[in-house]
């Protein structure tokens, strides 16, 4: 695992997130549930909690949009880049964007939202890319069965190095 230069991290225990634009590929309820599941993977192992809000500015702002979407890194159509996220910090820190030209699914077909969201939230919490092929933070997408999915060891160690373990707090 790796961390960003300066090891940026959140300095509070409750992190808010808000989904400002949804994908038409899934029902809003499915997106809400899946995003919550992705955050839960982390809150299972570190002493942070995540709360969805529906108005105002959240710590982590989330959207699904194609091509230009308000930052310096426009998306590139289907395939290629699937999503990106900022490291922790004020303002746009932690913000997470999904390319809505992808076909977002909850299955093996298309691009599995849980796996990509969990990867991006790793960045939003301070994890850089890992060279471990088995790690969630490996840069390329590969589907794995998400039934009972838990954070791989490499990623768990990486995020606990930043925030400590939930079980020890």
């Amino acid at each position: 695992y790796g961390h960003f230069p300066g090891r940026p991290k959140w300095t509070k225990r409750l992190i808010t997130y808000r989904i400002t634009r949804y994908t038409p590929d899934l029902a809003q309820r499915q997106v809400d549930t899946t995003i919550a599941q992705a955050f839960q993977l982390y809150s299972d192992v570190i002493p942070l909690d995540f709360k969805q809000v529906t108005s105002g500015t959240a710590d982590i702002m989330i959207l699904f949009q194609s091509r230009y979407h308000g930052d310096f890194y426009p998306f590139d159509g289907a395939g290629g880049v699937l999503a990106h996220a900022n490291s922790p910090g004020q303002g746009q820190g932690g913000d997470t964007h999904f390319d809505d030209d992808e076909s977002w699914t909850l299955t093996q077909r298309g691009v599995n939202l849980l796996l990509v969201a969990a990867h991006e939230f790793g960045h939003a919490l301070g994890l850089d890319h890992s060279r471990d092929r088995r790690a969630l933070m490996y840069p390329t997408y590969q589907y794995v069965n998400t039934n009972g999915y838990r954070l791989p060891d490499d990623d768990r160690r990486g995020v606990q190095a930043l925030y400590g373990s939930r079980t020890t707090v």
Binding site: F4, V81, L82, H84, E120, H129, R133, P139, T140, Y141
Partner: protein, 81 residues
């Protein structure tokens, strides 16, 4: 028997240059002089990419490297900024 190394297509070369500039380039390289420096470092960036993904580090574009570049991925750079 010796074989001729496959030549990568111009499309693959363009893909590689775009990929490396997006995921393996330093930030702040904006003026023409620095762009030339960037072009000269294509081989170094390619080696860094091949090392990151556990490929054979040759600094030469090959099919295996291009295949990795074509895989869907996260848009965050592989080198810390």
């Amino acid at each position: 028997a010796p074989t001729t190394a496959p030549t990568m297509s111009p499309e693959d070369q363009d893909l590689a240059e775009g990929y490396l500039s997006q995921f393996y380039a330093d930030v702040g390289m904006t003026n023409s002089t620095l762009r030339r420096i960037r072009n000269n470092s294509f081989t170094q960036d390619l080696q860094a990419m091949q090392a990151f993904f556990g490929l054979e580090v040759t600094g030469t574009l090959d099919k295996e490297t291009v295949d990795v570049m074509k895989a869907p991925r996260c848009g965050v750079s592989d080198i810390s900024r």
